[in-house]
């Protein structure tokens, strides 16, 4: 039985070892123009023409007749996919008349590799447009690929309620190798140049990881299994233990001063300290977005942007020539101050599910640095620090311990209080609860749509979705609750204002008008703006 039959019928993901060794990047070297007009493509879609629906429910049901538990999972996948299609078209329309033409802008490159865009010998590995990939994926000629993917996703989600981390890594990697090979057989991928093929490979990774996120990212998997009363496997459990460990270390050592980590700068005065704190804060905001994105690539971009902000601290303080001697301590300091949740889980997730061919260059350096810094903090104790004045350190440490204890007590009290209120509430079960419920559901559904839209379709540089749920909830109550474009626009505006504000505070000597001009030119991509402003201030 060929692998093709295998995957379509009784796909046993663990059995497909024979595909693992195939080369995945034997790319064709045909140099044809890689970029079709997405706008044209989009019109075709909207005209309801010849593009097949992405998901064929009957097909899925037929091929998996014998599976247990199909129905609970598959419709969910379908619904999600359909939502995506609708939402993405909306998003595009928005972009067609908006002046921030991000999604369709072929020139727009991720900050990760802007420095390499002039590389002439290599193909442009850094070109990235998920929308374009989806359009290609939807073409009739690519239908077998859609089937393979759907079948893989279905089997992954239904064959077992839990895979170990090792199994997951292998299954997903094997599937990528398999589908990368299939790209060479089916149009429109078959005749693509290297750059577009690379984009398609990125696209498929993002697509499947978006679907499998809740089963692969340890904190979400835990929530998922809690409802089914299934125990986590050791690998995922370890991620969560590490998350907890680093959380404790963040609290224990959150008070430390830069000097404890060998951070020193020439004119350490109050003003420069305030500026540094501001930068540290912004780098934290960027890194925090790692928890808002599902695809490994998007998460890496969050890391990269955060590190770019730290680099600008070094530049401002003329420390950049010290390289890693300065960078690593600042990175660790930033982590301790910002206390971002679930970093170990995120890093392991990226390590497991980012295809190895994409782990390279500057982004890879910062990824490894973050891994190293996280390890350092997990093992941190007094001996990890440079302590000139032991007495002072001990006092700060003790004060912090007292503060932590008080905080824990307060949280406990709060919990008790909440419990009490809740139990009273339940016993009274006011009718109003039922009346408000549908509204909440509408809000949730909308929030879900947006989470999905943003985490699946956009780059971390483009959207700031901390505010997503707030905004969507606000709007769910208004008559415009279904006006997705409006909300997308609001999110963009809000995010842009936020970036402008951050940059103005990072570069106080620069004229605000200049900063705004650069933001416009760089399409409000924080990493690129920082690079441009730094070179200006040189």
């Amino acid at each position: 039985m060929s692998f093709k039959d295998n995957i379509l019928n009784e796909f046993d993901p663990l059995a497909n070892n024979n595909n693992a060794s195939r080369s995945s990047d034997s790319a064709s070297n045909i140099n044809e123009p890689h970029k079709e007009s997405i706008d044209d493509e989009n019109k075709k879609t909207n005209d309801g023409g010849h593009i097949k629906p992405v998901v064929n429910k009957n097909n899925v049901k037929n091929t998996n007749k014998d599976d247990i538990n199909i129905l609970s999972d598959i419709p969910a996948i379908n619904a999600e996919r359909e939502t995506e299609t609708v939402v993405s078209n909306n998003l595009k329309e928005k972009h067609q008349y908006g002046d921030n033409d991000r999604v369709n802008n072929a020139d727009h490159l991720p900050v990760a590799q802007i420095n390499e865009t002039k590389e002439e010998i290599d193909s442009n590995d850094n070109y990235y447009d998920f929308q374009e990939f989806l359009e290609q994926f939807k073409k009739p000629t690519a239908e077998p690929l859609v089937k393979y993917t759907r079948s893989f996703l279905h089997n992954f989600l239904t064959q077992r309620s839990i895979w170990t981390t090792k199994e997951q890594t292998k299954l997903i990697n094997d599937f990528k190798v398999f589908i990368f090979d299939k790209f060479l057989i089916y149009e429109p991928f078959k005749s693509m140049d290297k750059t577009s093929l690379n984009n398609a490979q990125e696209g498929i990774e993002k697509l499947i990881m978006g679907k499998l996120y809740n089963n692969c990212y340890s904190p979400n998997l835990k929530k998922l299994l809690k409802n089914k009363l299934i125990k986590l496997d050791d690998g995922h459990e370890q991620d969560l233990e590490d998350d907890l460990l680093i959380k404790r270390k963040f609290s224990e050592f959150g008070f430390i001063k830069p000097t404890y980590l060998d951070i020193s700068f020439k004119d350490a005065n109050k003003k420069s300290n305030i500026i540094i704190d501001r930068f540290i804060n912004i780098s934290g905001q960027e890194l925090d977005k790692i928890n808002k994105f599902k695809s490994p690539r998007d998460k890496i971009v969050c890391i990269l942007n955060s590190c770019k902000v730290i680099f600008s601290i070094l530049k401002h303080n003329k420390l950049e020539q010290n390289g890693a001697d300065s960078f690593i301590p600042f990175l660790i300091y930033s982590l301790l101050k910002n206390k971002i949740m679930n970093l170990p889980s995120n890093l392991n997730y990226i390590e497991r599910f980012r295809h190895e061919k994409f782990i390279k260059g500057e982004a890879s350096y910062y990824f490894s640095s973050l891994q190293a810094a996280v390890n350092f903090i997990m093992n941190m104790d007094k001996s990890s620090l440079t302590i000139d004045n032991e007495e002072e350190f001990d006092k700060l440490y003790q004060d912090n311990q007292v503060k932590l204890k008080l905080m824990t007590e307060e949280i406990e009290k709060e919990k008790e209080h909440v419990e009490k209120v809740r139990s009273r509430h339940i016993s009274q079960t006011s009718p109003s609860e039922y009346i408000t419920k549908p509204l909440d559901e509408a809000a949730n559904a909308l929030a879900f749509k947006f989470n999905d839209l943003i985490s699946t379709f956009s780059d971390p540089m483009h959207t700031h979705n901390t505010e997503v749920s707030e905004i969507s909830v606000e709007n769910a109550n208004s008559e415009e609750s279904d006006d997705l474009d409006y909300i997308v626009g609001m999110i963009n505006d809000k995010e842009n204002r936020h970036i402008l504000k951050n940059l103005t505070s990072m570069f106080p000597d620069m004229l605000p008008e200049i900063i705004e001009d650069i933001c416009l030119a760089k399409k409000y991509n924080l990493g690129e703006c920082v690079d441009a402003l730094l070179s200006l201030s040189d």
Binding site: I328, E356, K357, K360
Partner: protein
Amino acid sequence: MLQFKLVLLGDSSVGKSSIVYRFVKDSFDEFRESTIGAAFLSQTITLEENNQVIKFEIWDTAGQERYKSLAPMYYRNANAALVVYDVTAPDSLMKAKSWIEELKKKVGNEELVICLVGNKVDICEEDDTKRKIEFEEAKDWANDENLLFYEVSAKTGYNVKEVFQKIGEQLYEYKKAEQANKGTQDNSNITSNIRLQEPQASNPTSCC
């Protein structure tokens, strides 16, 4: 074009980052842009002998003793290592030697190109009494250990380009031999992209 990962190791005051800064600044090439990041730099060179283009991705590490434990995260999958000491500081050669021992033990790559570099020779030129490590002493040790060896000055640029040329040549030789070993089954041109990243087996963020 061939692409290689080079890791920089050495004590914090030996000026390892300065050597790379000097290298990247002096190798200005109007056709190819280099990257100067916080601690990551990339630079292409052309081998004099055969015009082979080589791109270095340079990974800097923190030299402070307390961050020593982070180094494995940086040197995994490296193709080359530049281990730097300061010719005016005797301790720094000791540290360089311990890095080299660690590299040989931990990096399971027999073709890892290691180059030992003594920096700050400009200081000795001004005042020879400042020199604490003799050229011959370090050179002999490097020979015994089968390493490349140079004395350089990041300040004046002395020998900096040569270091990277030499490392590039050595890497190219290894690559060529590897291709030859593969024999006829793989006819791919040596200049085509070669995958250098190896799968990462270890799970680096779990602490135990």
